[in-house]
């Protein structure tokens, strides 16, 4: 234990004096939190809207104000010229155009089926889909309000009314969904990359050889070496959660101990991955690239952090089963957003345990083989 403690103290001192490592451990998590929290936002608001109201009736005006008052659209222009509309869209001044035909109010009052045109700039397919969704919803609501009550609806379908209620994230704010992914991401950076780099750096500088000549067992060395990174990544995870609660209103509905368990399991696995990389890589450059390839990319791409797993082709979906962040995100979102109990999360937690054990096992196997 005394030996592990000596390694631990040495490592902590080195981290504190090494600006590059400190930067990776402290600055990057903060930067990413702000960047992803504020910039990576799939909620679309303030869509620039141009209106061509050829009817100018009370009914047409209430359609326009329904759009503007929804908070999703900002009225940027009002015009009657098709050329002007084209110009606005081409110049990116308007992303959506609402065209209300002449006789809209009259037709509506007499219970006729009345078309309204919505033109959407499709250069960004994601945005276009979202805008279309907003517009259809608004038109359905405002249409129902404006239709005269006496009109017998032609289709039995319209007798059904959907009243959706979205649990856990009623406003569907993507920040709430992204923050857990961010913790996984930062855990991967600090735990995998910095562990791998710190050991490979010792190989490069020759101090590793010195340590291997000393009577210190592999276990004490690994314990002392990884403990500082474990504690640092644990505290940066805690800081991210606290900061997200303050800045983005992230709810913390679950048990903090369950959260600690999930984060710890994930971090131990990540540290093991870093160790494993360090037994293979001989230079910091190679170690960093391997960390990037093995841990960071899958965490971003294949964990469901940003891209939903259900939307991936079957082959990639199969691959996601070996991405630890996938399970971590399920557990984290469950605990933070839904208040799930540990008993609800047996599968992801067991998967994370298996990951941690596999990584630690493999890396100690390789470390002890290096000695032979």
């Amino acid at each position: 234990m005394r030996k592990a403690l000596a390694v631990y103290r040495k490592e902590l001192r080195q981290i504190l004096r090494d600006r590059r490592t400190l930067l990776i451990l402290v600055f990057i998590p903060a930067l990413f939190l702000l960047l992803y929290g504020y910039a990576l936002n799939f909620d679309i608001r303030h869509i620039a809207l141009a209106v061509d109201d050829r009817d100018s009736s009370p009914q047409s005006r209430s359609v326009v104000s329904a759009f503007v008052n929804s908070g999703y659209f900002d009225l940027v222009a009002s015009t009657h010229s098709p050329d002007e509309i084209e110009r606005l869209v081409n110049l990116n001044r308007a992303r959506a155009v609402l065209v209300i035909p002449e006789g809209f109010g009259r037709d509506l009052s007499s219970g006729l089926l009345t078309p309204v045109q919505v033109i959407i700039d499709g250069d960004n397919a994601n945005t276009a889909t979202t805008v279309l969704g907003y517009a259809s919803n608004l038109l359905r609501t405002v249409g129902a309000e404006l239709s005269p009550a006496t009109v017998v609806r032609p289709s039995p379908l319209s007798l059904l009314k959907v009243e959706p209620r979205i649990w856990y994230n009623p406003e569907l704010r993507s920040t709430l969904f992204l923050v857990p992914g961010l913790i996984a991401y930062i855990g991967m950076i600090t735990a995998v990359a910095s562990t791998a780099l710190s050991i490979v750096r010792e190989k490069e500088s020759g101090t590793m050889e010195q340590i291997r000549m000393a009577p210190i067992d592999t276990f004490s060395f690994i314990l002392g070496k990884t403990l500082p990174y474990f504690l640092i990544s644990l505290s940066s995870s805690a800081l991210i959660i606290l900061a997200s609660m303050v800045l983005f209103g992230l709810p913390m509905r679950g048990n903090w101990l369950a959260l600690l368990l999930a984060v710890s399991l994930f971090l131990v696995g990540a540290l093991g991955t870093g160790l494993l990389i360090s037994t293979v890589a001989d230079s910091q450059q190679v170690a960093f690239q391997m960390a990037l390839l093995i841990s960071l990319l899958p965490t971003i791409m294949l964990s469901g952090f940003i891209f939903p797993i259900s939307g991936m082709p079957a082959f990639l979906q199969a691959v996601t089963y070996v991405v630890p962040a996938r399970y971590f995100l399920v557990a984290l979102r469950g605990i933070v957003l839904k208040g799930s109990e540990v008993s609800h999360l047996t599968v992801p937690l067991l998967a994370l345990t298996a990951y941690a054990l596999a990584m630690l096992g493999l890396s100690s196997l390789r470390l002890s083989r290096e000695r032979a």
Binding site: A6, R9, K10, R13, S205, G206, Q210, A214, P215
Partner: protein
Amino acid sequence: MALPPDVTHAIEVRNLSRRFGAFLAVDRLSFDVRRGEIFGFLGSNGAGKSTTIRMLCGLLRPTSGSASVGGIDVSADPEGVKQRIGYMSQRFSLYELLTVDQNINFFGGVYGLTSERLAARRRFVLEMAGLTGREQTLARDLAGGWRQRLALGCAILHEPAILFLDEPTGGVDPLSRRQFWRLIDVLSQEGVTVLVTTHYLDEAERCHRVALIHAGRLATLGTTAEVKQIFQGRPIVELRTPEAVAVMRALDEMPEVEKTSLFGTAVHAVLRSDTTPAAALGARLAGLGLTVDDVAEVVPSLEDVFLDVVEKAGGAAV
């Protein structure tokens, strides 16, 4: 930790071999190192010196053969070996971002020293390395000689009976090298056995005995005087000349000259027997119209031995 009194040889190596795939790095090496001896381990790069040291330190398992260090079998108890040895390599592995004090504390911790013992050893190391008063300096800010002495200090914090030095003076100025060797002499007088590899043959002259290995095999072993016996009856003549290449070519033509080699600005000629006087050789070269400033028979240097041994072994010196 002193050696048990019944251990006469600090290191015993018997038919030690190590194979890496098809490459035989160390080939049936056998030698003994006596207690308190400074034992020089010489050879060109890739001769198998470092591989041997790594096996003796318990880092690398021998393919065959055996070795005991401090009376402990390296294959059976590599961890026990590590308790008894100190190791320092050419890169004097210190932590650059830690201070002198923090480096000492770290290695003390890794060697499992109690805090009282560490305090005493810390004073000793600071004094030995001449770093008293500079405890808070970062290791990377130390000049080469100090770093090297600090590294030596860290390697002997636990007072090992046997010390392995793998090219300890690489990249250090001559004055610091001399100071370093003085420290090694002191350690040896205190009974520490030192096995040192070096490229500097002047350093090898300071060893009690030297082993020369080539291509993984022991080529010669003995005191420096003993290994020079290889030139018994084959005097070496040193010729100072501005036309070294032409002189070498002319000497190679002469039947009594076995071989020639270039030593800086001088040519060394090994003669087949001690019947030819050196002056006669100079006269004959002058007769061929070559300028020779000085001709004298010289004592063979370790470098002569080294070249001769390597040539006899059928390899080129690196």
